[in-house]
Amino acid sequence: MSTVPAVLARAALLLGAVLVPTFFSQELPGRPDLAVLVVAAAALLHGPVTGALVGLAAGWLVDLVPPGGEPLGAGGLTYALAGALVGAVSRWGPWSPLVPWVATIGGAAAIQAVRGLTAAAGVGVAHPGDLFWSVAATALFALLLLPLLIGVERFLLERGWA
């Protein structure tokens, strides 16, 4: 069983997710975090370990795509945590069709919580309102994009590529 197509597909999705926000940086009160949606889709179908691996890759991209984040590597660890969290919740998926959506919001909220905590500790500036709106915007985009991304993951899984 080869995992190369899945790795390539996720890499392309993540790169798109990190580059695209340049488009809609102006209209919404908060900007959505699209990278966490790709991470969540992989984590929901494959569990916490794959979720953390995809999260690690997403965080590295967030840190490296200009203007990037500081310090280098902190994004990778944060997104890996989010991926592992969403993956851990995925076992309760059969409960309700809302579980994937709620788990994704939880992952996005975890990332914003890290941002808020570092700001509270005196590193960086993060306004609580901005953090909230960012999670809200991510939740909205998750409604539209998460089914599509899960569809991609399911397609890869059915082909034996993931």
């Binding site: 975090d33 490296l64 200009p66 990037g68 310090p71 280098l72 902190a74 944060t78 590193v123």
Partner: protein
């Protein structure tokens, strides 16, 4: 197809379980994080390489608007007019106050137009506002140059790659700007983070702290004080206006809320002040 892919995958990777792979990659990430904290210059080449590869893609994606050319021309003309107006303002204030800003007004420097092509992700663990512009070392951009827009001060360059540069915006982490405010040009500093004990600020608002015992009044214009050799901030650039003065709470200098002229969410065309450009 599947057999071909199976042959392409290195066999030694197949022997590694996913948890083990995750462990190794997490350990490597922690290592890079520690190196970056201890010695940022060691990881700079990595960022530079990423910027070199991705900047063309970012600037191509920003350019996908139909009215780009007309918009750019209009904005450039507006910027030009504003610069002339500000040059005149600086000249007047020089004559009026006889302060030491005569030599370092920003009128004498060349303005290099640039477009914002990337905003910092909302997912970075350390919050802050940074943008990427499509001008880099090849155009003469260097670290610690001032970036302005037609509205006023935007920030300063923190990283420069061959064809792009990262700009930390006003109100970002660790950005403190020396300023003059009010009619007399009293000294103060503007910070993105309010000192403990002050009333909470709305998103985007800055805090002005007076250095001396001069009073801050609502509506005071805040302009940059300027740094020695104009690095990182050129003198006399409008920054914002005072919207409310904080009540005294025992702190040394008086503090006030400043609304910046530049809205970081709608930044598009900016200009880098290239020092000594056309003197």
């Amino acid at each position: 197809m599947r057999q071909l892919l199976r042959r392409l995958v290195p066999h030694h990777l197949g022997g590694l379980t996913r948890p083990a792979l995750l462990g190794i990659l997490l350990a490597l990430t922690v290592l890079v994080l520690l190196v970056d904290l201890a010695r940022p210059s060691a990881t700079a080449p990595l960022r530079r390489a990423a910027a070199t590869v991705l900047a063309p893609a970012q600037s191509a994606m920003t350019g996908w608007t139909d009215t780009e050319l007309t918009d750019l021309t209009r904005e450039r003309d507006a910027l030009d007019a504003r610069v002339k107006e500000l040059e005149a303002q600086v000249r007047t204030s020089e004559q009026l106050t006889e302060l030491e800003r005569a030599a370092e007004g920003w009128g004498g420097h060349e303005l290099l137009p640039a477009r914002v092509v990337g905003f910092s992700s909302v997912g970075t663990p350390v919050g802050g506002r940074t943008v990427t512009i499509d001008a880099g070392e090849r155009d003469g951009v260097a670290v610690d140059q001032t970036v302005v827009s037609s509205a006023g001060l935007v920030g300063r360059v923190v990283r420069a790659a061959p064809s792009s540069a990262d700009v930390v915006l006003l109100g970002g982490s660790d950005v403190v700007v020396g300023v003059r405010f009010g009619e007399d040009g009293a000294l103060g500093s503007v910070d993105g983070r309010a000192a403990p004990g002050l009333p909470p600020r709305a998103s985007g608002e800055l805090t002005l702290t007076s250095v001396g015992d001069s009073d801050i009044a609502e509506g005071d214009l805040v302009t940059t004080l300027g740094s020695p050799e104009s690095v990182p901030y050129v003198a006399g650039i409008p920054l914002g206006t005072v919207t409310s003065v904080d009540p005294h709470s025992g702190q040394l200098g008086e503090t006030a809320v400043v609304a910046p002229f530049v809205d970081p969410d709608t930044l598009d065309l900016v200009a880098v002040v290239v020092l000594g450009g056309n003197r």
